[in-house]
Each structure stands twice: as structure tokens, then as C-alpha cells.
Subunit: 334 residues, 2 copies
């Protein structure tokens, strides 16, 4: 164990973004500076394999073991360090159900609704998700997110424009569009775009048409065109277009994946973009290549996009930890 | 071997509908009467497993072996009996590439463009598919079908209204909408609806939300409503609605599959139906439960549907065999 010494970075917080398919953990120092990172393979799904869904105690043990596997060294070296986790780890299928705030929700509220899990090695706090309740009277489904609330907090922190109104798009397996007004999440929308793309290219019949993908921006642009024009044909028809183009030797099998990526992203953007105010630039936060794709798709619709770096979750977790009093906001002075 | 005797049914044709995921074969007698049926598990995909896609000879051997496994007894008992096969068995990934007729195409043309495969046990003839060529100038994808041309021929035969204009819907993994006018296929549209449903419910994240399905027509109807209203949200968002409804305890996990079935079918119907003339009843041909679902979806749009029995392919194959001179149209007289 390294004692805290002036001049050397002092670890203050273990921060985790623990989702369905991935886990990222950071050791954060003063002001939320990233001191160390662990990104083990796999997320909740891998962990849940082989565990009886009806046995929460067995599941909790599996999560605890996984947590100690990833962060044990940090916990040993810095006893008493607080830990904060966001993402599906706080869902009913996760470590422990951390609840939801109902939208419209003030983002500061998040820090007041943490769920603690007490371990011998210290407490892990879980961040609540956000929900839009379903409307039973009109049978209108609501929506949920978990993890993205923390990314949003991080993005606003990074942009230093907390109080303005923003439309954020967080692309991924389930892309989230989030509208923030005056520090409140006013509404949001989920689109399973990344998941549909993954299913079709990995398990679908088109996976037999596609050969190993090489990045092909022209194919992506052509897919966008097809997806934007799918107003009169639908996603299930637009996707199949790739097969006809390959048979007619107008699309290389290696370009099928990028073509399909264009189709699904365009189909999402043309449906969801009109539901959000048009004026301000859209803020994109996520994997660099995905953000680039969304920026191109948005530009086709005349919408300007601004890309914020991917690890906004670490910033968001620090910000929540400060607001919750888990860590001191200022550099610890001696 | 049973010699042909008056009074006993005489086998005239081995007919196969050999698709990507299933194989159905019939032994047909005079007038195309079904004398015997074989429906082994699996289709092209199972057969292709473990075979190098770049080795057509190995693939051909595998198809021949599969064919003899299924139909060998019929071939032994009725030497010299002709065989006719439709479906993906005639695709580039199948036994032998049987080509396509370009739409608009006269259905009679099909019988003049058979591709023979000569075996020691007799010749197997393959039915050509149909294609709409892509338009390279506007980068508009065309479309293809294979197997459904034979179902269409069978449906028209069964309906005894060959020359009228019809809109046919053949629901399945890839649902096909086919417009027939004066014995010609004027146009058609593919929607990967069944495939998307299968991917999402089998491999998708919602498969963790769904428990074993029990048929739930109310959930299907609610999914239809969501899918028809998805004009302003898109398929990727409408599908995710099931997750929110389950979390809000407004949808039982066992009803998720039927809800999603409603969402995808509605999304297809609302996109594709407007592309076809409104007046006449839509003719549905396929698995009984799927046809029932499409009929309900079509009724929501004010479109009347007529369901034709599933084994139209056998009728179509007989009809093509007669037109091609492989069998005599009339009962063999002695």
C-alpha cells in the first residue's frame, strides 16, 4: 500500500460503468483524474451465464466475486476507498436493483438516490436509472435507461454548459436520445439499432452473404441513402436490399456490414430526430467510430453534431460521488 | 417395386420445396395428388455446415446425398420417376445455380427454364427464381425470390383464377408480397419480418426479458397497435417498448414473444401494403398461424384477406412439371 503523499496522485474513488455486454472501471484521483483503468472482457450477460435467474443470492455472490476480481488490487492498496457503479449492474437482473428516477428528473437527484451494497472490502454505491412510465390507459410503452444518466452528467460536466438545453445521442447496442433542459432530463428515446445490426450481421441470413468486413465508408453512405428512403418500404425490406445488390454484383460481400450499418442508423435517425428540437447541435458521446457514423447520418438531415469523448461515464461518476459526499470536490490538502 | 396397376395410385413425380431452413418433399400421383410426404428436419443451412463454400463439388455431393437420403426409397420403388425442386436449392449457395427470370415475368416461362441435374437415379430439375434487377444509376436495390414463384403458381391453380390480378402475401422468414397480373408476376417485395422476429426473440437482449412463450392473442393485438403507430418512432424503438411494459408490469414475460410478433408484422404491413393496389382481397399462403396473424394485421388496415392452404408448393410443382412435359397432365390410361 502506497501512503498518500503530497505530489503523488491520491486515489479517491473506484468508478464502474457496468453494462450488459461490457465493464469499464477506473481508479480516480483528485478532481476525477483517471489514475488507472481496468476493462475486462464481458459484462452482465457473461456473468449471468449458468446462474439461476431465480436465485438473487447466487447472483449477488457472482457479482461480488467479479467485482473483487477486477478491483481487488485497488481495494487492497487503498483500504476504505469508496466505489460507485452505474449501468445494468443496478437492474433487476444485476447485482442489486437500484431503482429508477422518473422523468422529468433533475440530474442532481441521482446523487441522493444511491443504493449501497456493503462488503467487507467497503461499500459499493449503485446509481439509479431513469424511466418514463408506460401509460396503461393508452397502452403506450414507456422507456428506461441505466448508465446513460451518468454519461449525460459527465457530458454536461465536460461541456461546462450544465444549464443550457441539449439533445444528446449516446450510440450503442441500445442508442439513447436524451433531451436535457435546465439540468433536468426532460425525455429520452431508446432505439435498438446497434442490437439489430449485430443480430443481422452475426446470426442473420445476410451473415452468409457477407464476408469478413473491411471498413467501407462508401457502402455505409449507400446504406444511409437506402435507410433514409425506407419511409415507403420499412426496415425489414431495406435490409434485404443488401442481398439483391450483392447478387447483382453492385455491392461487395465485404461491404455488406457497412451497408447494413448505414441502413439501420438512417432508419433510426429519420424516425427519432424529428421528435427532438431542431435548433441546437446534437451532442454525440460514445465509441469514436459510431459517433462518426451518427454525425454523418445527422448531417444528411441538416443537423450539426458535436462529439464528446467516450469516457464521459468516469466524469459523471466522479461528479455524482462529489454531489453524494463520497469524495471531496477539491484536491485533498495537507 | 409396385407395378402400375389400374385402380391403384401411380406415382408420377417427386416434388421438393427445398429452402434455407426446411425441406418438404412429396410423392405425387395422377393430377398432382399427394401420395406420400417426407419432411426431414433442417434445410440448406444445416447441410452447408462444415462444407467449404468455395468447393461447389463438395457441396453438390452433400446435396446429392441428402436428396437420396430423403427420396431414395421413392426412387428405388419407382425407377425413372422425374423429380422437380424449387427453393434456395437452386441458388448459388445451393445444389446448383438455377438462374432467375426477370420481372415482369410470365409464370409459364418458369417451366421452360428448368435446370437439370443428372444423377444415376434419374434427373432432378430445378425451378428458376425471380428477380427485380437493381438500378445502378439510382443505387436502388432490386429484389429476389426463389421457391415462392412455385407457391404462386400453386395458389393460382388452387384458386382457379389464373388470369385475374392478385396480390399474394407469403409469410415466412422472408415474407414475400407478390403482385400477379394476367398470369405475369408484375412486381414483388421482400420483408425480413420473420427473420427479425426470430433474431430478437432467440438471440436478442429481449430474449432475457421473455420467458417461455404461451400463445397470447391479446399481446399480439397490442404489439400490432404499437407497430402500426411506430410511424413516428421506428421499429428499433417500438420493439424496445416490450421491455418498458414488462418493467412496468403491464406485459407478462410469457407474452413478450407475441407482442413482438405484432410489432414486426404491423411494421411490415404498414410499409408494404400501400405499395399494392387496395381493391382486391389479399391472398395469404403459408403456415396457418402466421396467415392468421397477417389476416388480423391486414384487417386493421381495412384489407380483406383470403387464406389458401399451405402446401401450394406441391400444386405449383405439379403444374410446372405438366407444363414442362415431365409428366402427363391427364390420368394415365391403360
Amino acid at each position: 500500500m502506497t501512503p498518500d503523499r503530497p505530489g503523488l496522485p491520491t486515489p479517491r474513488l473506484i468508478a464502474l460503468d457496468w453494462g450488459t455486454t461490457s465493464l469499464r472501471s477506473w481508479l480516480l484521483g483528485d478532481d476525477g483524474r483517471i489514475l488507472d483503468t481496468r476493462r475486462p472482457a464481458g459484462g452482465l450477460l457473461d456473468l449471468a451465464e449458468g446462474i439461476d435467474a431465480a436465485d438473487p443470492a447466487a447472483r449477488a455472490r457472482a457479482y461480488e466475486a467479479a467485482y473483487l476480481r477486477v478491483c481487488g488490487e485497488w481495494l487492497r492498496d487503498h483500504p476504505g476507498i469508496p466505489a460507485l457503479a452505474c449501468g445494468m449492474v443496478g437492474s433487476a437482473q444485476g447485482w442489486y436493483e437500484a431503482g429508477y428516477l422518473t422523468v422529468p428528473a433533475r440530474l442532481e437527484q441521482t446523487a441522493r438516490e444511491l443504493t449501497p451494497i456493503r462488503l467487507d472490502e467497503g461499500t459499493v454505491h449503485l446509481v439509479p436509472g431513469l424511466r418514463i412510465p408506460s401509460e396503461p390507459r393508452h397502452d403506450l410503452p414507456g422507456d428506461v435507461l441505466r448508465g446513460e444518466e451518468t454519461q449525460v452528467i459527465g457530458v454536461l460536466e465536460l461541456m461546462e454548459r450544465r444549464d443550457a438545453a441539449h439533445t444528446l445521442v449516446l450510440p450503442g447496442t441500445h442508442t439513447k436520445w436524451v433531451r436535457v433542459e435546465d439540468g433536468k432530463v426532460a425525455s429520452f428515446t431508446t432505439a435498438m439499432t446497434g442490437e439489430l445490426y449485430g443480430l443481422v450481421t452475426r446470426y442473420g441470413l445476410l451473415s452468409h452473404t457477407a464476408t469478413t468486413a473491411r471498413r467501407d465508408d462508401t457502402a455505409f453512405a449507400r446504406g444511409l441513402t437506402a435507410g433514409f428512403s425506407s419511409r415507403d418500404q420499412g426496415l425489414g425490406t431495406a435490409l434485404f436490399g443488401a442481398r439483391a445488390l450483392v447478387l447483382d454484383e453492385l455491392l461487395a460481400p465485404a461491404a455488406v456490414a457497412d451497408y447494413l450499418s448505414g441502413v439501420v442508423i438512417a432508419d433510426e435517425v429519420r424516425h427519432v430526430l424529428p421528435r427532438y428540437p431542431a435548433a441546437d447541435p446534437i451532442v454525440l458521446c460514445g465509441a469514436a467510430d459510431l459517433c462518426r457514423r451518427y454525425a454523418i447520418a445527422l448531417a444528411r438531415c441538416g443537423a450539426r453534431a458535436e462529439i464528446v469523448r467516450e469516457d464521459a461515464a468516469a466524469t459523471g461518476l466522479w461528479s455524482i460521488a462529489v454531489a453524494a459526499g463520497l469524495v471531496a470536490p477539491e484536491r485533498h490538502r495537507r
